[in-house]
Amino acid sequence: MKIRFQTFWLPKRGNSEEEYEDAAFPMESGESESDEFLCAVADGATEASFSRRWAQLLVQGFADRTELAELAQKWSDEILTMELPWYAQEKAESGAFATLSGLILNGTTGTYSSKLLGDSCIFHIRDDKLVESFPMTNYESFNSSPALLCSRLSQHEDLESIFSYKEGEWISGDRFILLTDAIAAWIFKLQESKGDGIKTLIAIKDQVQLAELCADARATHDEEGRPNMRNDDVTLLDVHVYA
């Protein structure tokens, strides 16, 4: 199985690159040839602190198949041992939060499997058309309080049950595009209103083009006065798979 992958990302408008709180693995662009390929995106919650680090650990950990408990311990060891002022300490003690959408492509069986939590989204594309998207399937399904994985794992009563899983088959030439919520919601909105969401998505070829599209969508508004794209961090991981 041959894989070609590229990742584009940008922070919220008005924020610096250091303040970007999504994460992707791989973060760079490249090619690989192997029987198995693992990739993921995660969206660190703005409301918490040190979410960027948690999101990074989650995507890296998914690709390495590291246990969540080990990732949570690593986050805690790094963050809670820092010398922090009272407010930063109290905030950090309540943990960091992130979504996770991870994808495993198997070259031997021609199948894929995914592990999903929250509203980061995977679009399966074949012949420039959407085969399906998961876990989100339409614009309406996005809201301001997606399911999130907390770095304090004890916050979750049943850790395994919070994830959903999706399996399927791929054929040579398929694409899987992993997106965090703001751009995914915008793509659905375009698809549902004008029918050109998927066309727009698959035409994104580089970082500059993504930045221009997002700047425009953030600055224009729908009939209810809401920005067409929420001002949020944006991550796009585009994976082409060939037999």
Binding site: T46, S49, S154, D232
Partner: protein, 280 residues
Amino acid sequence: MAYLAEISRANPSCFVFLIDQSGSMQDPFGSITGTKTKAMGVADAINRLLQNLVIKCTKSEGIRDYYHVAVVGYGGKGVKPAFGGALEGKTLIPVSDIGNHPFRLEERRKKTEDSTGAIVEQTIKFPVWFDPTSYGGTPMNSALQHATSIVVKWLAEHPHCFPPIVINISDGESTDGDPFQSAYDLMTLSSTDGDVLLFNVHISSSNHQPCEYPDNESMLPDQFGKLLFSMSSPLPDYMRKMVGNEGIDISYNTRGFVFNADLVSVIRFLDIGTRPSNMR
């Protein structure tokens, strides 16, 4: 559609809290809170609120100035900023200054869960910015005019901000004239994103059931309650949803007002009134 503006460091919003410090505030709250005076209960609630606000604005690199905050006391000593310590005498302060300059940092014991879920007792820092005080009359009219002067200046500098929210906490009637016109002047100020929101919390020494978020004045027992209702802004859509999620009946006329509040409803009201809608 109003109340959609992003709250960010480039486009911050502001809160103004008006705190009644008149003599009657030294009476105890209703039986639910035992011997704690209303002044003590409100001071605790405001300190806790400021702490939560600072924490909400805290990110990995420090506190982001999403808000500027004024806490103004009114009582026998007139109308003046209520912060103590390094912030004494200051009116509208960026939230980072509040976080970095508490009057004092008390240590309190708190039961919490460790990373394995076991209950452990932990020492936590409890920041205090202002102490209870209670003396003299209730110059609510002047306090509202003072809030108006703060908000007018803010809006001139931040015309596109999420509208400022003013929360007035009092246990009695104004002693410096009918406050309606002053309240009306304040409520009709606006940014490009909507009118200024004025909310009122009337706190009580009695054990009467609080009347929370009424949507018409007939629910209120007397003229004073009706006056405060008329001085309270209707809740914007996002806040109506929050109130509804608390199990309280809401309608399009629901106002940001609690009459006969006990300490529990004061804390809940402050939490809902200051929860951000769109912080980036």
